[in-house]
């Protein structure tokens, strides 16, 4: 059974940000995912971001055990999970305390009043009950005896223990929010039917509680009106909601199928990159060979071995792991093998802020190796974009016989958004440099004259037996060679090879003003926040601000300088102290690059960006 709301004439909103927060055990991730999936299927554009506690099993009711899920839905394009919140659903005092800061003044809080008991208030270090002491006066508070009402709704369902009953109160909250935003419960009821296929009592219980919440909201005078967010204008097609890390994994699967090469992953678990490993290990049916190694070094070296033997080889990690991989990455560069290295950046330095986001590994990716060892560096901009850039990393590695470092970050890796599903048939061709037959006078460092990519002869090919290694090699024969002039030639060749990748990547695009006063420059995972800030300020009437976002960092697109020339001022925005600005200055010294930087483990907020842009206009 499912229901539709028909009562009031709902108020139309363009976009809404809702945050569901509760104890780790309260099922907030599920609640949030259900709401965002339902909204996406309704046609909204969405962006979501989870916020888990870093403790695996934090004590119940504690401040650090709070788990949250934020969703931004819109009838207009939505490119970030949103800064401040329109509706906060807080399942206990700790959740209220840790999240109230994000709620816009005057906006709504729904709380489970039952959970505001002495014990939980103490655990959240409240000396007085915020529901009674007037501290929430500036907000609209909807107090609901959710635990009691859930129990009441379930009194006739047989076969449920106490735990199952308390666990379903999140569905009461979800039911209420569905009513408030004029959403159908269909999708969630379908979900129960699938998830609890063999446990009909749980299907019944969860559906009952969901509906109870829905009806409760409808009849409750405390909620004077409901809202609606109309479908967004999106390109027609088949969509799904995808998380950045999943998109990365799937981009690799697509590249493997398109190139006809088997996928090999060598990896060692590390937050926030592990979900790529988790995803790829599932896909043995596609012949994926996922190897969990003893450390990051073995992760990359096993991938190098697989690349030598002819597979599409991948290694995935985060900052500290990339540091460990440095020496081996230099080897892969030296022996010129195709290898995709994915770094899902997190807050650094050292162990840093494992669950927070940052863009501070850019210089490590560019230069974090001994000797002169250029590699391709690219970065994905949004969760769904991770699919394209993982695919692109594989394409470039194979076509140019080089390691490619793909940078994503915790923000886009864990965030999710609608993805217009791409069939492998629509993806660009991937060539590779394999030589399958013995050739007279063949040398392993024979190169394509255009790209300088060397030949790829894999073990098992008769007549092409050869040795590669980390020692400098003769530019013609590939044999070990320490001659000074030869080293210079090889150093130049390796650099030139990466430079020529420019011929195989798209131009830098400018959004909004194509020329004018201010060019906003970003790279990687800040695309969403920068884009929405530029969009907003443009809509306010500033018509002279352009936005150029880099996905290709080494090499940069050919037209980069042309783009810079068209603006009076350039501001480089990044979640570090100015690493990309540093690279830009080194390459385009005649321009003046201003900076917006933030190193707090957090994404940019719309307001801070807009404020700074305005100062420059």
């Amino acid at each position: 059974m499912s229901i539709e709301s028909k009562t009031l004439q709902p108020e139309e909103l363009q976009a809404v940000v809702i945050r569901f927060v509760g104890d780790s055990g309260d099922g907030m991730q599920l609640t949030g995912t259900q709401f965002s999936d339902t909204s996406a299927m309704f046609g909204n554009d969405i962006a979501t971001f989870p916020n888990y506690p870093s403790e695996i099993r934090a004590p119940q009711g504690s401040l650090y055990g709070v788990s949250g899920f934020q969703v931004h839905i819109g009838s207009v394009e939505v490119s970030t999970p949103g800064d401040s919140v329109d509706l906060l659903v807080a399942m206990n005092p700790a959740a209220l305390k840790t999240n109230l800061y994000a709620l816009k003044p005057g906006h709504t809080i729904i709380v489970d009043k039952d959970s505001f008991n002495k014990k939980n208030l103490e655990k959240a270090f409240y000396t007085t009950n915020p529901l009674e002491d007037g501290s929430l006066e500036g907000y609209r508070v909807i107090e609901v005896d959710m635990s009691t009402l859930t129990k009441e709704a379930l009194k006739d369902v047989a076969g449920l223990d106490n735990k199952a009953i308390t666990r379903s109160k999140n569905m009461f909250a979800l039911g209420m929010v569905y009513w408030m935003y004029n959403r159908s419960t269909d999708h969630t009821v379908d979900f129960f039917n699938k998830k609890f296929k063999n446990k009909p009592e749980l299907v019944e219980a969860n559906t009952k509680v969901l509906n109870a919440g829905f009806y409760f909201a409808e009849t409750l005078e405390l909620i004077p009106n409901s809202f609606t967010v109309s479908p967004a204008k999106m390109k027609p097609g088949t969509y799904r909601i995808i998380m950045g890390n999943t998109a990365t994994a799937w981009g690799l699967l697509a590249a493997s199928e398109k190139s006809g090469l088997e996928l090999f992953l060598g990896s060692y678990p590390i937050t926030p990159a592990t979900d790529i490993l988790h995803e790829l290990v599932k896909h043995k049916h596609f012949g994926v060979k996922a190897f969990q190694a003893e450390d990051e070094i073995a992760g990359i070296t096993s991938a190098i071995g697989a690349a030598f033997a002819g597979d599409l080889a991948i290694t995935t990690t985060s900052g500290p792991g990339l540091a460990l991989k440095g020496e081996a990455l230099g080897l892969a560069m030296m022996i010129e093998l195709p290898l995709v290295v994915i770094n899902v950046q997190r807050g650094g330095p050292s162990t840093g802020l494992p669950t927070k986001t940052e863009q501070s590994d850019l210089l490590q990716a560019m230069y974090g190796r001994n000797g002169e060892s250029p590699v391709i560096v690219i970065a994905a901009g949004t969760p769904a974009d991770c699919f394209n850039f993982a695919y692109e990393a594989a394409r470039l590695a194979l076509e140019h016989m080089t390691p490619v470092v793909l940078l994503t970050d915790g923000y886009i890796a864990n965030g999710s958004a609608p993805w217009k599903i791409k069939s492998v048939a629509e993806m660009p061709e991937i060539k590779n440099r394999k030589v399958t037959k013995a050739v007279e006078n063949w040398h392993p460092y024979n190169r394509d004259p255009k790209t300088l990519a060397r030949d790829w002869a894999v073990p098992g090919t008769p007549g092409l037996e050869h040795r590669v290694g980390g020692l400098e090699k003769d530019s013609v024969t590939g044999d070990v060679n320490y001659v000074p002039e030869n080293h210079q030639v090889m150093t130049n060749t390796r650099a030139e090879k990466i430079k020529r990748v420019q011929d195989n990547i798209p131009d830098l695009k400018v959004e909004y003003a194509q020329e004018g006063d201010l060019l906003v420059v970003g790279w990687g995972g800040t695309y969403g926040t920068l884009h929405s800030a530029v969009k907003e300020i443009t809509e306010e009437g500033y018509k002279n601000i352009g936005f150029a976002h880099f996905n290709y960092i080494n090499p940069m697109p050919k037209n980069t300088e042309e783009v810079f020339k068209k603006f009076k001022k350039i501001i480089v925005c990044e979640l570090n102290s100015g690493q990309f600005a540093f690279i830009l200055r080194a390459n385009f010294g005649k321009f003046d690059f201003q900076q917006i930087n933030k190193v707090q483990g957090l994404p940019f907020s719309n307001d801070e960006l807009i404020q700074k842009f305005k100062q420059l206009l």
Binding site: G43, F264, D295, A306, L331, V458, G460, P462, E465, G469
Partner: protein, 337 residues
Amino acid sequence: MEATAVKKYTYKDFVSDQEVRWCPGCDDYVILNSMQKALPEMGVEKENVVFVSGIGCSSRFPYYMNTYGVHSIHGRAPGIASGVKLANPNLSVWIITGDGDAMAIGGNHFIHVLRRNIDLNIVLFNNEIYGLTKGQFSPTSLVGQKTKSSPYGNTQPPFSPGELALGANARFYARIGGNNPKAMTQIFIEAHRFKGTSLIEVLQNCVIFNDGCFTDVTDKEVKDDRQIYLEHGKPMIFGKNSEKGLVLKGLKLEVVIIGENGITEKDLLVHDAKEKDPTLHQMLVRLEYPIATGIIRAFDDVTLEEREDELTKKIKANSKYKKTDDLFFSGETYEVK
């Protein structure tokens, strides 16, 4: 690719065009020649052989073999070799490593590669010294050993490679003197045939920085008395005139003289390399007199790639996903018109 194939190659087919650059008199030459002699006997196609090394004098080895090869980075050959083998299980993959390469910088990879039991072969050149960097002590150098980095004598107690390997669940372990090419060749062939990770420790003399480190066991004059060469299924006999043997007394191996105190050949232990329980293999590895050589352990076990292959076949057969499109368009999708 097994030995039944016609013998296609000779020793020369495996000699590369690169000039060998080890010090004259180094045991590394013996190992190279033994390998080049063993390969034609294995019946494996030349293009299916891959040598992967780390860094060290020993690790120059792949350059001298006319096969596929990777001279990689210090200590990391096990990772690279594992990747090669998992990518293409038809290959015969060899890791070439030194005592420092395998047990200092590469110690972690060394124990894990043994634990996993991928069908790889490891040749460990143990010269109880860092050769390439000109003579520092290694994790197998003896206490008191004077080296460039221990001028007053080494104070760090060593690993025994065999003990370490068995502790890491090595399925195949052999030890052989660096001056015994005949036995070494045979052991290489056996290692190739063995399904699983094989470790061959060569007691390798470094004429420059640790000359004579094994002469008290490997020297022609003393070797028959100081070494026992173990063969599966044969009684544990040694000595110039095969007059000595090993028995188990309590929890210790003991040397006995055949004919003395009524001891006959029948009383001696019979070597069982294939036994799963490594207790006796450990005792043989630890024995100081005589030093055990030959194939000490060769326990047949399932390999990692066999397990992976079985799983993959089963999953492929039962999966509804044949192409990535099947996955991408499955589950929770929705249409935007």
